[in-house]
C-alpha cells in the first residue's frame, strides 16, 4: 500500500542501531560509531528501540546464544549485521545497513519458555525479607564493556551481590588483536603514537561513562574528539576546553562523588595499576622506569578513589598525553597501557569489581563499571608478548 511504502522509506532514513562489540571488535565498533555519528543515526540504548543489531568482531561460539536471543528482542526482529572487521568505507557501511533493514523479516518462531520461576526471598540490608532477583548484566547491553557478564542478585534495585563471569569465556578472539592494549604488545612504536592511543582509549572510556551518566551532548563530543585524536599528530581542536568543562561540571561531580570507592588496600590486594590505582592515591606508573619517558612523575589528580576521582584521573591523563602526542622518541617496549601495567591490568580491575558494586543501586553500579571500564580483549596474563 502506498502509505506503508512511504512510511517505510521515511523510516529507513534514520535507523537506530544497537552496536555490540563481540570478540576483537574494537576497530569495527569505533568505525561504526563514527559512521553513525556522521549519518546522524542514533545509537540505541535498548534492543527494543533498535532497527538493527550490528555485531562487530569475530563473534565465536560463546556469543551465538546471546546474539540469537538479542535478535529476537530487537525492535525489528532478525535484522542482524555482522561486521568481522571495520568496514572499508562509510558508504559501504551505509549500504550494508540499508540491505539489512530491507531484508524480509524472519518467520516468527513460537515463543518457547518454561515459565518464569518465582524469585526467592531473603533478608536485605535492613533485615526485611525481600525478593531476590537474579539478573545478568551483559553481554548484550549498551555502553557496557565488551564481553563482560556480571551475574547479580538484586533486591528492589539494590545489588546484593555480584559475580563476574569468567572473562576468557566471552573474548573469543583470545585477545589476538589486543583491544586497546594492541599498540603496547605489538612491534616497536614512538612515544607519540602510544600516547595518542592512550588519549583515544581514555576518551572512549569517558564517552561511555558520560553516556551512562546521561549527559548525551558531552558523550557525543567525547566520541568526536576520540575520532580526531586517533587520527594524527595534529592538535585536537577543542580538547582542552572540553576537558575543562567536564572538570568543572558540578552536576556530574555531585552524582559520582563517593560512589564505588576503591581503597588503597584493595588496590594492593588485587594488584590494580594504572589510572584506577592512581585515583586511589597509589602512585604507581610503569613509565617511571622507562628510558623513553625521562623524568616521568606519576600524576595523581585526586586520591578519593571514587568514580569522580577516576574521571579526573582520565581527564588529567588525556591532557598529559595530548602534550606528548608529537614526541617521536622510539619505544622498544612500554608496559603502561591505558588501564595499567600490562599484562593483567584489566584482570585486576575485574577482580575488584564485585566488591565495589556490592550494595550499590543499579544505576550506581553501572557508573562504577563504566569508571573502571575493563577491556576483556586485553592479552591475558601469561600470554606471550607479541
Amino acid at each position: 500500500m502506498g502509505l506503508t511504502a512511504a512510511l517505510r522509506s521515511l523510516a529507513a532514513r534514520r535507523p537506530h542501531l544497537f552496536v555490540l562489540q563481540a570478540g576483537d571488535g574494537l576497530a569495527a565498533r569505533l568505525a561504526v560509531e563514527d559512521a553513525a555519528a556522521e549519518h546522524d543515526w542514533p545509537l540505541a540504548d535498548a534492543l527494543a528501540e533498535a532497527d538493527a543489531l550490528l555485531v562487530c568482531g569475530q563473534a565465536g561460539p560463546p556469543w551465538a546464544e546471546p546474539v540469537a536471543r538479542a535478535a529476537t528482542q530487537l525492535g525489528r526482529p532478525g535484522r542482524v549485521l555482522r561486521l568481522a572487521r571495520a568496514p572499508a568505507s562509510r558508504a559501504e557501511l551505509a549500504a550494508s545497513v540499508r540491505r539489512t533493514l530491507a531484508a524480509p523479516p524472519p518467520a516468527r518462531q513460537p515463543a518457547t519458555h518454561d515459565g518464569v520461576p518465582l524469585p526467592g526471598y531473603g533478608p536485605d540490608r535492613d533485615g526485611l525479607a525481600l525478593d531476590h532477583l537474579t539478573i545478568g548484566l551483559g553481554p548484550v547491553l549498551a555502553h557496557w564493556p565488551a564481553g563482560l557478564v556480571l551475574h547479580t542478585v538484586q533486591q528492589g534495585d539494590v545489588l546484593e551481590s555480584a559475580e563476574v563471569e569468567s572473562a576468557e569465556v566471552m573474548s573469543t578472539g583470545g585477545g589476538a588483536a589486543g583491544g586497546w592494549a594492541a599498540p603496547w604488545v605489538g612491534p616497536a612504536r614512538s612515544v607519540g603514537s602510544l600516547e595518542r592511543h592512550r588519549m583515544a582509549s581514555h576518551l572512549d572510556s569517558l564517552a561511555r561513562l558520560l553516556a551512562v551518566a546521561g549527559w548525551d551532548q558531552e558523550a557525543a563530543q567525547a566520541r568526536r574528539l576520540r575520532a580526531v585524536a586517533a587520527g594524527g599528530v595534529a592538535t585536537v581542536p577543542g580538547l582542552e576546553r572540553w576537558t575543562d568543562r567536564i572538570r568543572r561540571a558540578e552536576g556530574l561531580r555531585r552524582m559520582t562523588q563517593g560512589l564505588g570507592v576503591l581503597t588503597p588496600a584493595a588496590v594492593r590486594r588485587h594488584g590494580i595499576t594504572g589510572p584506577a590505582a592512581r585515583a586511589s592515591g597509589v602512585a604507581v606508573d610503569a613509565r617511571v622506569q622507562e628510558a623513553a619517558y625521562p623524568g616521568w612523575v606519576p600524576l595523581v589528580a585526586s586520591d578519593d578513589g571514587d568514580v569522580w576521582a577516576r574521571t579526573l584521573q582520565w581527564l588529567a591523563a588525556i591532557d598529559d598525553a595530548s602534550r606528548l602526542r608529537g614526541d617521536a622518541t622510539p619505544v622498544q617496549h612500554s608496559a603502561e597501557g591505558p588501564r595499567g601495567r600490562l599484562p593483567g591490568a584489566s584482570a585486576a580491575l575485574l577482580a575488584a569489581l564485585p566488591a565495589l558494586v556490592d550494595g550499590c543501586e543499579l544505576g550506581g553500579a553501572r557508573l562504577v563499571v563504566a569508571s573502571l571500564d575493563p577491556d576483556l580483549d586485553e592479552p591475558a596474563p601469561g600470554a606471550a608478548r607479541g
Binding site: 521515511l10 528501540e49 515459565g115 528492589g156 551532548q217 558531552e218 552524582m255
Partner: protein, 308 residues
Amino acid sequence: MAETAVASASAWWGLLVPLGVLALAYAAAVLEAGGAARRALAVPVLESARLLTQPRRSTTTPDRLLWRLGVVGGLVVVVMADVVLPLGTWSLADLDMGVVWWTAFMALLWVTVFVTGWASDAPFALAGGYRFVAQALAYEMPLAIAVITASLAAGSLRVGQVVAAQADRWFVVEMPAAFVVYLVCALAVSFSGPFGTPVARDLAGGVLGELSGVDRLVFQAGRLAALGSAAAFAVPLFLGGGAGPLLPAAVWTVLKTLAVLALLVAVGRRLPLLRGERFTELGWVLLLPLALLQLLATCVLVLRTGAG
C-alpha cells in the same frame, strides 16, 4: 469579585484538543531534537514513521491490560488535563476548579508511568518505575504549592480569574520563586532533561526499554505532551495568559508557550542526569522550603492589599 478574562467556547471545539496536544508534543520533540532547524523539524516525523513501521514486541509474562493502559494512559491524562488551558481568550472548559483539575490529572501520570514499568515484568523497566515514583514524591508538593500560590494571589481556582488577576502585573514578577519552582517541577513531571532517570540509558531505556513500535510512539508522545502541557500551563498561571500588544491573544499564548518550552528544553539539555537521591535532596531541601516561603510572602501581600 474579579471577573474571568476567558470566555467559554462551544463544546465542539473539544474535538480539536487532542490535535492541539499533539501539536504541543511535536513542538517539544522538535526542540528536544535540537541542532539545525530543518533537521529538527524532520526528526520527529522520521521517528514517528520508524516507530509506526516497527512490529510491536512483548516480554514473556507481561500484565497485558495494565501495560496497554499505562502506555496509552499518559496521552489520555494529558488531553484531559489540557481542557482547562485557555487559548487566548477562549477556553473549552473554564471550570471553577480548573487549577486543581490540571494538577490532579497530571498527578495521574504517576500511575501510568509506574504501571508501564511494572506491567512489562522486566527488571530494568521496574527499576525505572521505582525511580519515577521516588522522583514524583519529591516534586509533587513543590509543584502543588507553586500552583496554589498563583491561585491565592488571584483569589480563585478558576484559570480565567487567575489570568484576569494579572491585568496590572504578571505573577512572574510578583512571585518569581514560585515560577522557578514550577519550571523545575515541570521538567520533573515529564521526566525530561536532568530528571530523565526513569528512561535513562543506564537502565537500557528504563520504562521505555521494553516498548517498541506504536507502543513506544504513544508513550513518547505522552511524555512530550506532558512537557508541552506543563509549559502551556505556565502561561495563564504566571505569564498573564494572552496579554500583549499588537498581536491577538491566541497568538501571544502560543508564542509564550513556545518560549517557556524552549527555555525548559534548553536548560534540560545542558545538565547531566540527576540521580534519584540527589533529586530527592533537591526537592525536599531546596524546592519545598522555597515554595513555602514564596507562599508565605504572597499571603502577606494579599492580606496587605486586601484582595480576595
